[in-house]
Symmetry: C2
Subunit: 314 residues, 2 copies
C-alpha cells in the first residue's frame, strides 16, 4: 500500500494509505479525518441519528464492527457494545476477545450474550431442524436478538459495521436477480417502529479497503479469520466481482451504490401495520415471528429425536 515519497492529498506530508477510487492518498491523521467525515456525511444524509445520541453497536469483533465503534465513539456518540456469541466453533473465542479488548480501550460497556443461552438451542440445531441455508437462519437469529437486546437495554438505535463493499455486493446480487422487494428495502437506515430499533449502517460510504486501512492506522484489536460456516454463501461472489470491477475501473463500486441511493426513495417503515408475535411480542405479519417459528420447530424436532431415542431403548 505504501509508496516511498507518496504525499498525503490533504496535508502534503508522507502518506501511508492510497485509495484509487477517490484518487486520494492519506497519512494516518488525515485518513481519520476523511473516515469520520464520511461517517458524519452518512449519518446526516440518510438521517441516521441525532448528534451525540445514544447508540448500541453490534460488535462481532471483526474490523468493520470495531471501526464503526471507534469512529462513533470518537465523534461523541454515547455508545455501548453488544456481542452475540453464536457458538460457531473456534471462531467464537477470538471474536469475543476482540470485542472485549475494544470495549476496554474505549472505556465503554460491552454486553455479551450467548445465542445458545438466549435461544435454548445451538445455531447448528436450529439450522438442522429447519432444513434451511445456514446463513439465512443465522442472519435471521442475529437480527432478532440484536433488535431485542438493543431495546431491552433501553437503546432505540443499533449500528452495524456494514460497509460499501457489503452493500454494493448485495445490491449487485439483488439487481442480477431482479429482487424487487429487496431492492425496494435496501437502504442504510431501517426506521424504528414499535418493537423495532432503528438499524443504521454508518460505514456505508466507506469501502472495505478504507475500513481496513482505518483499522490498521488505529491498530484496532481485530479478530482474524472468517466464519467457518460461510461456505455456500453467494454474497461474497457478488462482492468479489464488484471489487474486481472497481480494481479495473476505480470508483465503479462507489458510484454504483451511491447513485442507487441518490435515485431512490427511502423505503416505507418496516412492518408497518404489523401485529405482535404471540410468543415474544415482536412485530410480525404472522401469528408468530420468524425467529419464534424457527425455535418452535427446533423444539419439536428435538422432542421427536428424543422420543425416537426412547422408542429404540424400549
Amino acid at each position: 500500500m505504501t509508496n516511498p515519497g507518496m504525499k498525503c492529498t490533504r496535508c502534503r506530508g508522507p502518506a501511508r494509505h492510497r485509495f484509487p477510487s477517490h484518487n486520494a492518498r492519506f497519512c494516518d491523521e488525515c485518513l481519520d479525518v476523511f473516515f469520520r467525515g464520511q461517517v458524519a456525511k452518512a449519518i446526516k444524509k440518510y438521517r441516521m441519528a441525532p448528534p451525540g445520541g445514544p447508540m448500541m453497536i453490534a460488535v462481532s469483533g471483526g474490523k468493520d464492527s470495531l471501526a464503526v465503534w471507534r469512529a462513533l465513539h470518537d465523534m461523541g456518540y454515547e455508545t455501548a457494545g453488544l456481542h452475540l456469541d453464536l457458538g460457531l466453533g473456534e471462531f467464537a473465542a477470538p471474536s469475543l476477545a476482540a470485542a472485549r479488548a475494544m470495549a476496554r480501550r474505549l472505556g465503554r460497556p460491552l454486553h455479551v450474550y450467548s445465542f445458545q443461552e438466549l435461544a435454548g438451542h445451538a445455531m447448528e440445531d436450529v439450522v438442522r431442524a429447519n432444513r434451511r441455508n445456514f446463513c439465512s437462519v443465522c442472519g435471521t437469529m442475529k437480527r432478532y436478538w440484536l433488535n431485542r437486546l438493543t431495546l431491552e437495554h433501553g437503546f432505540d438505535t443499533v449500528a452495524t459495521g456494514h460497509q460499501l463493499d457489503d452493500e454494493a455486493g448485495r445490491l449487485l446480487g439483488n439487481m442480477l436477480h431482479f429482487h424487487d422487494q429487496y431492492l425496494a428495502n435496501q437502504w442504510p437506515v431501517l426506521e424504528a417502529a414499535p418493537g423495532l430499533a432503528r438499524k443504521i449502517k454508518p460505514l456505508c460510504r466507506l469501502s472495505e479497503a478504507e475500513v481496513r486501512a482505518y483499522a490498521k492506522a488505529h491498530d484496532l484489536p481485530v479478530a482474524q479469520g472468517k466464519c467457518p460456516r460461510s461456505k455456500g454463501a453467494t454474497l461474497p461472489y457478488y462482492q468479489e466481482a464488484m471489487q474486481w470491477l472497481d480494481d479495473k475501473m476505480p470508483g465503479t463500486m462507489h458510484n454504483f451504490y451511491l447513485e442507487f441511493l441518490r435515485r431512490k426513495q427511502p423505503p416505507a417503515p418496516p412492518l408497518a401495520g404489523a401485529a405482535r408475535c404471540a410468543s415474544c411480542g415482536a412485530p410480525t405479519f404472522g401469528q408468530e415471528c420468524t425467529a419464534c417459528r424457527l425455535l418452535a420447530k427446533t423444539e419439536a424436532w428435538k422432542q421427536a429425536l428424543w422420543e425416537r431415542g426412547h422408542a429404540t431403548d424400549a
Copy 2:
C-alpha cells in the same frame, strides 16, 4: 471440456460439450439441434424475421459471425455475407480470409468493402481528428456502413453475431452506471425504419462458450486474434465479471439477461420522427448524421494539416 464416459443429455451417446449453466452435455449432432433451437426461439420470441426470409449477415470473420451465418443458412434463410475491412493492421487479412472461406463453404455471396475506400479516410485518422475513444468511433462507423450497405444491396435485415455474453456484459455495465437510455434501448432487435435496416441478434440466447463449441463442432474457419485497438474498452471487464459470476453460480448470466428481456417492453422504433442527413440521407435528429459529422471533421483536420505543412514550406 470432454470427460470420458460423459453422456449426451439428448441422445445418451458419448458427449463432447458440457454446459453447466444449462446442466447439459451434448454430442456434436445434438449441440447442433440445441443451437438451432435457441436461434429459432430467439427469432420467434423477439420477432426478428419471417421464416426463410432474406438476410444480410455482418461477417467479421470471428467465431460469432461465422456461427450465426452457418446456423441461419442451415435453417433455410436466404443469406449473403457483408465484410467490412476496417484496415486495423494485421488483424485485417485473416479476418477477410475467414469470411471468404465461410462464404465458399456455404456457397453464398460475400460482399467485401474497405472502410478506407468507402469513407475516404483511414479509421485511425477519423479517431485522431475527432479526439474520441477508438471503439466509439469505430463502432459508429461500422454500424453506419453495415446499415447503408445492407439497404444498398436490397436487404431490409442485417444479422450480427452478438451473443449472450456480449449482451449480458453490456447490460451489467448499463445497470452499474444507471444508463437509463441505453437500458431502454437494449433489445435483440432494432426495428426497421425509413433509411434503417432491421438489426437482429439471433445468438442472444447462446453463451460465448456455446458459440465456441458450435464453431468447434462445425470446424468453422474462424479468424483468431482480437482487435489490436480494443485496449481501453470497458465492455470486456463487465463481460469478464459476468462470466466469473456465471462460473461460480451457473445460470446467473442466462437468467439475468433473459429475465431483463422478459420484464421489458421492446423499445420504441429508433429515430422515430427523425429528419434526413443533409449529406447522405440517413435518418438523424441533427442536420447531418453522426457518421457524416465525424467524416467532415476528419476532412477539415486533414485540410488544416495540409495547410500547416505548406505554411512551413513557404
